[in-house]
């Protein structure tokens, strides 16, 4: 073997510092007090120390803190147990099993290494040491010892210790500034004080949690995913993971968050404007494809509401990233007159299995087996559309159309503004009761039932909004008789299916400024690696 091992300085129970490597050959044995096999090995190591100690430096890093003393006393060890309670040295040496034995020569090269207790290995080690050191063999009653006993897992591999060690290791993927919070300070309160929060408590993004979050994506921690307006802050995978931890996400949500962030940070989506507008817009995230079920998203009962971790925290993570990395904070660049609760979170999955139509992502050019996020800039909703009486397809489609009259203001029509319609399963059943009823037919029906003459849009004493009186006079009575639908075109009506089987309540999100002057919905395929 030509392998060498990292140096260390550890304190013994009596407080002396022992440094590796020292002079001459070494026998280094990692143990923990509550491991039965370590207790089998300890007297053997003692015998080896007694026989070869003049020419062999025996070091025993113990992982058990104060209990190291019990191990020493129990076996009457005449050498010191070194304190590796933090397990940093065990981590650096990449110990898997204890006892873990290393015979290291005077040049620092590993001569032999084994784990656990295989009597033949220990016996051979003793013989080889005697030969190498040119001393008499240690007197050990090998026959009284078990032939084989498996070791125990090294304590540093316990998840709560391992992640901490990984996070602090040289070459760790973590590069974000570390903030030490004094024991007297409450971590949750500290994060509120720093302005990291959306108003709700955050999960502290400790290095261990962030490392675990990073395991949710195959992308490396320092990959740049997007520059986030308004400050054009750089959202690396690591920064996304930090905010995802704070939002309460699980690691498997990371690919969805990454795709959603890429989508909102396009010029087409214009998250700067969505954040800044006084109208109070927010991104609405719709997730399609196999990932919905894989990460446990809600597409059924209460899909637009609370209670599902993936729905709730993916949307929240996106908002936190825009606030913390992009700097879009209420009262700063975010200038909503009223805001809206979707600014906390708004994310749901389409109920593709309950839909007779191609799902949203297929309509937008993706394959059915792709997992895709689509983001919409919405200012209102979900506004429920209640129709429990209609039994004919054209009736329920008509009600859905009438339910969209409220977009912006009922009197305003011909709007080049998006709406995201969420049709519930019972309304789907009614729509399909007489045969296929396509999405395009539903869009046409919405346009049909919302047609009104332009004269109804003219500003008057009831409402000053709409066509100014002077403009209306120039248009003349003939032009004002022209009927226009709610939306400037059917392409502004986006349709998905979600919800449970019971209840005749569809819903709609109302858009913001749509198109190049404002925001366009954007879809991104989720990279599952």
């Amino acid at each position: 073997m030509t392998e060498t091992k990292p140096g260390f300085s550890l304190k013994s129970l009596s407080g002396d510092t022992h440094t590796f490597p020292g002079d001459g050959p070494h026998l280094v044995v990692f143990v923990k007090e509550d491991c039965e096999t370590c207790n089998t090995a300890a007297p053997v190591v003692e015998a080896l120390h007694k026989a070869y100690g003049d020419k062999l430096r025996v070091l025993m890093p113990g992982q058990s803190g104060a209990d190291n003393a019990a191990l020493k006393e129990r076996h009457g060890l005449s050498f010191q147990i070194l304190d590796d309670t933090s397990c940093k040295t065990s981590f650096d040496w990449d110990i898997q099993i204890v006892p873990s034995v290393f015979w290291i020569d005077a040049n620092g090269r590993v001569v032999s290494h084994f784990e656990g207790f295989v009597r033949e290995e220990w016996e051979r080690l003793s013989a080889d040491l005697a030969r190498s050191l040119d001393v008499a063999q240690a007197q050990i009653d090998w026959a009284s010892l078990p032939a084989w006993r498996p070791g125990c897992g090294s304590r540093h591999l316990y998840p709560e210790i391992y992640d901490k060690l990984r996070a602090s290791a040289v070459g760790s993927t973590i590069q974000a500034r570390r903030i030490d919070i004094a024991p007297a300070d409450d971590v949750i309160e500290f994060m509120f004080d720093q302005g990291f929060s959306d108003g709700l408590p955050l999960v502290p993004p400790t290095p261990e949690r962030v490392l675990r979050m990073l395991e949710g994506t195959r992308r490396t921690a320092q990959d740049l995913v997007a520059t986030v307006p308004p400050n054009m802050g750089e959202a690396t995978v690591e920064k996304i993971a930090i905010n995802a931890v704070m939002a309460g996400c699980k690691p498997e949500f990371m690919p969805v968050i990454i795709a959603a962030l890429e989508a909102v940070c396009t010029d087409a989506f214009n998250i700067h404007g969505v954040t800044a507008t006084t109208m109070g817009a927010a991104p609405v995230i719709v997730v399609n494809g196999p990932i919905r079920d894989r990460i446990g998203m809600n597409k059924g009962l209460g899909a637009l509401g609370s209670g599902n971790r993936a729905n709730a925290t993916i949307g929240r993570a996106l908002r936190l990233i825009v606030g913390n990395v992009g700097g879009g904070k209420p009262g700063g660049v975010e200038r909503s007159t009223l805001g809206n609760p979707m600014k906390y979170t708004m994310c749901f999955a389409e109920n593709e299995e309950r839909s007779p139509w191609p799902p949203l992502h297929v309509e937008r050019g993706f394959k059915k087996e792709d997992s895709v996020v689509t983001v919409f800039a919405m200012t209102g909703g979900p506004v429920h559309i209640v129709d429990q009486e209609s039994r004919k397809p054209e009736q329920v489609a008509g009600s859905i159309g009438l339910g969209l009259e409220g977009v912006f203001l009922p009197k305003l029509r011909n709007l080049p503004i998006d709406a995201l319609l969420v049709v519930c399963p019972e309304h789907i059943d009614t729509l399909m009761s007489e045969g296929d009823y396509t999405k395009d037919r539903l869009r046409a029906r919405i346009q049909e039932v919302t047609r009104r003459p332009l004269s109804e849009m003219v500003a008057d004493e009831m409402s000053g909004a709409g066509i100014p009186k002077a403009t209306a006079e120039k248009m003349g009575a003939g032009k004002l008789r022209t009927e226009v639908p709610k939306f400037a075109g059917p392409e502004y009506i986006h349709i998905v299916v979600a919800g449970s089987d019971a209840g005749k309540f569809s819903s709609a999100f109302h858009g913001w400024a749509t198109g190049e002057i404002g925001s366009q919905s954007v879809s991104r395929k989720i990279d599952l690696g």
Partner: protein, 92 residues
């Protein structure tokens, strides 16, 4: 002690000095319309009042492509190169 990781972009604010105020109004004033409804009404009135109050100055008018997005860099540079003052109007 708990250690957490910084969730922000760790940006350090850049300190910029404000241009010295001379008390005089000489040169070219840029009026930037962000394209909100009636922004032109406000700027027309401002231009009229400036012409009356400070006859010696030149006024140049600019407008953003849309109020919903930040001012394009080219327009920002154009304004910076051509005027001594700029007034950005929001309106509504």
């Amino acid at each position: 002690m708990t250690t957490i990781l910084d969730p922000t972009d760790e940006r350090k604010p850049v300190a910029r000095r404000i241009t010295p105020r001379t008390g005089a109004l000489i040169g070219t004033v840029g009026l930037l319309d962000i394209r909100k409804p009636r922004g032109n009404v406000l700027l027309d009135e401002l231009e009229r009042q400036l012409a009356t109050a400070v006859p010696g100055i030149t006024v140049k008018r600019y407008s953003k492509p849309t109020f919903t997005k930040p001012c394009p860099d080219d327009l920002r540079r154009e304004i910076a190169g051509e005027v001594d003052y700029v007034v950005e109007a929001l309106a509504d």
